[in-house]
């Protein structure tokens, strides 16, 4: 018994150090919302700037989309860039993109996608750039993801507070890149240690919320394999499916865990020709809208399925509105097209 006690005491620093890795305060960013207003998030995904991109046109398109989103929602509080913001490019092109995002003066969050490391830079360079003090509005935490035991560079949470209360949590999860399997590459997935990290964060928020899990939404790049269940059993919310799904090859418990912890929505990118969204078991799950035509994209009724997705998180209820803002890439002056769809109180 004495030995057991000793063993537990001896292991305590180790246990604390492990937990410390998972609940480091640097993982958490805070934003506030006042009055009865919604907290509006604009998601951009798969921007894919590269050597062939017409930077002027692409910049004008993104800025125009932000302006259109502001008109629709009244204001945008946060921009979420869910991976593949760049492709085969150099540092100048990548920096130009993030300078543009910063110039909008709106806080912006960022997760990595599988194409983000194809440019002529290292992972550390990209991570340091986006989390650097140069970008005052960028929320990616500096340093924390480099030295911890949680896989990936872009795991962090934004607590949206109204007064003293955390009303919503917005999770950014790194779905990494590719994993080698016997000579070929498969898309990566949300690893078990990231799920442990997520559990630690939600538990921490629960403790400070009277024992109730705080409603949350999660953003990442590569869809999980659960997408097939949502397609099969979920209720269609909106959008189109114009290509086969390309989820991570490994099954992950992330969706199951998140459902148990009051996660109300999960949104991703990766498959450029899909912007379909479903609802199942009190969770909304689906794609954002590709924010450029680079690499490949799709059209409907002659209009590019390009633009952004707006999430309006409501006060108290744990419900939100979702709108896909679709703007023809080659004719942004037309404004938001008739393909725009909206669902309220999801």
């Amino acid at each position: 018994m004495k030995n057991k006690r000793f063993a537990i005491i001896a292991l305590m620093p180790l246990l604390f150090s492990c937990t410390g890795d998972l609940i480091n305060p640097n993982y958490v960013k805070e934003m506030t919302v006042s009055g009865d207003e919604d907290f509006n998030v604009l998601q951009f995904t798969d921007i894919h700037w590269n050597y062939s991109t017409n930077i002027k046109q692409a910049s004008a398109f993104l800025t125009n989309t932000v302006n259109e989103a502001k008109k629709r929602a009244g204001h945008i509080d946060l921009i979420e860039i869910t991976g593949d913001s760049v492709l085969v490019a150099n540092k100048k092109i990548a920096t130009t993109l993030y300078d543009l995002v910063e110039s909008w003066g709106i806080p912006w969050a960022f997760t990595f996608g599988n194409h983000d490391y194809e440019g002529e830079w290292s992972e550390a360079w990209m991570n340091n750039l986006v989390s650097s003090s140069k970008y005052e509005h960028a929320l990616l935490p500096e340093d924390i993801n480099k030295a911890d035991k949680v896989d990936g560079f872009s795991n962090y949470v934004i607590n949206v507070k109204r007064g003293d209360k955390v009303e919503w949590q917005i999770y950014n999860i790194d779905t990494h890149n590719l994993v080698e399997e016997g000579g070929s590459y498969d898309y990566d997935y949300i690893h078990p240690n990231q799920i442990s990290w997520y559990e630690a964060q939600t538990d921490l928020a629960k403790e400070n919320n009277g024992g109730q899990y705080v409603p949350s939404i999660a953003f990442f790049h590569i869809p999980p394999t659960d997408i097939y269940d949502f397609e099969k059993d979920g209720t269609l919310v909106g959008g189109i499916k114009d290509e086969k799904f390309c989820p991570g090859e490994h099954e992950s418990d992330f969706v199951k865990t998140a459902k148990e912890r009051n996660c109300r929505g999960m949104f991703f990118g990766h498959d450029h020709s899909n912007d379909i969204v479903w609802k199942k078991d009190n969770m909304v799950f689906g794609y954002g809208v590709k924010a450029n035509t680079e690499l490949y994209s799709t059209q409907k009724d002659g209009i590019d399925i390009t633009g952004g997705a707006i999430y309006s998180l409501h006060k108290d209820t744990g419900k939100f509105d979702l709108e896909h803002l679709i703007i023809d890439y080659d004719a942004p002056e037309k404004g938001a097209s008739t393909l725009t769809w909206k669902e309220v109180n999801l």
């Binding site: 930077i55 290292s122 690499l295």
Partner: protein, 313 residues
């Protein structure tokens, strides 16, 4: 080795390195638009201009490795014309893109698009020089290898494999030279990439050695160099096998080390989701060593011996 041959050898190496750096950049331009070539008018002149320097390298190679004067003159004539047409056409396309506002200054490189314009101007000027002063050029550029009696299959296979090998080798040498832009000594798996960096430089070293070997033996009897060549080549062959085994072992044990460290230099791997880069780096030098120093030299030595023993008729 004469001074003239040595200079020609050094020019070839310098041209190889410059062409490699341009090829590396051009390949990335190409890969940026490879899915459907939607921006081919814009990107086409960019990557083709970069590839022109590799064309110049091949032309120089054939000129310096062709002892037959008649064939040398023909090679020079054809390639001079090629430089004029290629360089001229690309310059026109670049001007069209400039007028259309497709090229934004300074984005794709520090001086873009001045760099690709310079390449095409140089190619055009070289083409004109070659066409106007053919004899002078022929006189100035020496032959750095002697004519050996090679079996026909060696010549054909050598040319095909040679093209592929040079593309791969110059790309990876340039990738290594460009490492300061993407290398991160801080990643936990950086050490695992070292064997691949060795293979990257090894591919070009095999080429340099081959060229030096040919130039060095130009004034000597081939047979004398054969045994030495085969011995060194065999040692290198074994080294490559050893590194190749190490790379494979690391791939099995550390599945993320390539995607964490080398993704930007292996775009094809990520496009087709196959891990071909490390295999190319291992297989190519092995094939080259066998083909240039072990297989073909043994074959040539055998042919020469047979010739000597044949009764005079």
């Amino acid at each position: 080795m004469s001074k003239k041959t040595l200079i020609a050898f050094l020019v070839e190496i310098a041209l190889y390195i410059i062409a490699g750096l341009a090829f590396y950049q051009g390949f990335h331009y190409f890969m940026a638009d490879v899915d459907g070539f939607k921006h081919i008018l814009k990107v086409g002149p960019m990557f083709l201009s970069c590839f022109m320097l590799t064309y110049l390298l091949f032309a120089y190679y054939y000129l310096t490795h062709q002892p037959n004067e008649e064939k040398r003159a023909k090679t020079l004539k054809v390639n001079g014309l090629g430089f004029i047409i290629g360089g001229g056409l690309l310059l026109v396309l670049i001007i069209v893109n400039l007028i259309l506002g497709n090229y934004e200054f300074g984005y794709n490189s520090l001086i873009f698009p001045v760099d690709i314009i310079l390449i095409d101007v140089v190619m055009l000027a070289l083409g004109i020089l070659i066409t106007v002063k053919k004899s002078w050029v022929l006189e100035k550029i020496p032959v750095i290898c002697k004519e050996y009696s090679k079996p026909k299959w060696v010549v054909i296979v050598g040319r095909v494999l040679g093209f592929i090998y040079v593309w791969v080798a110059e790309y990876f040498l340039a990738a290594l030279l460009m490492a300061p832009t993407y290398i991160d000594f801080g990643t936990p798996t950086f050490g695992h990439t070292i064997p691949l960096y060795i293979l990257m430089v090894f591919m070009s070293l095999v080429l340099f050695w081959r060229e030096f070997y040919l130039a060095y033996n130009k004034e000597k009897e081939m047979d004398k160099g054969v045994v030495k060549g085969i011995t060194i080549a065999s040692l290198c062959f074994a080294t490559v096998i050893g590194i190749g085994v190490l790379v494979t072992d690391l791939l099995i044990g550390h599945t993320y080390y390539i995607s964490h460290n080398l993704q930007c230099i292996l775009p094809i791997d990520y496009m087709i989701s196959k891990n071909i880069g490390p295999r190319l780096l291992t297989l190519c030098p092995m094939i080259a060593l066998w083909f240039n120093f072990i297989g073909s030299k043994t074959c040539m030595a055998k042919a020469n011996k047979q010739k000597e023993t044949e009764p005079l008729s």
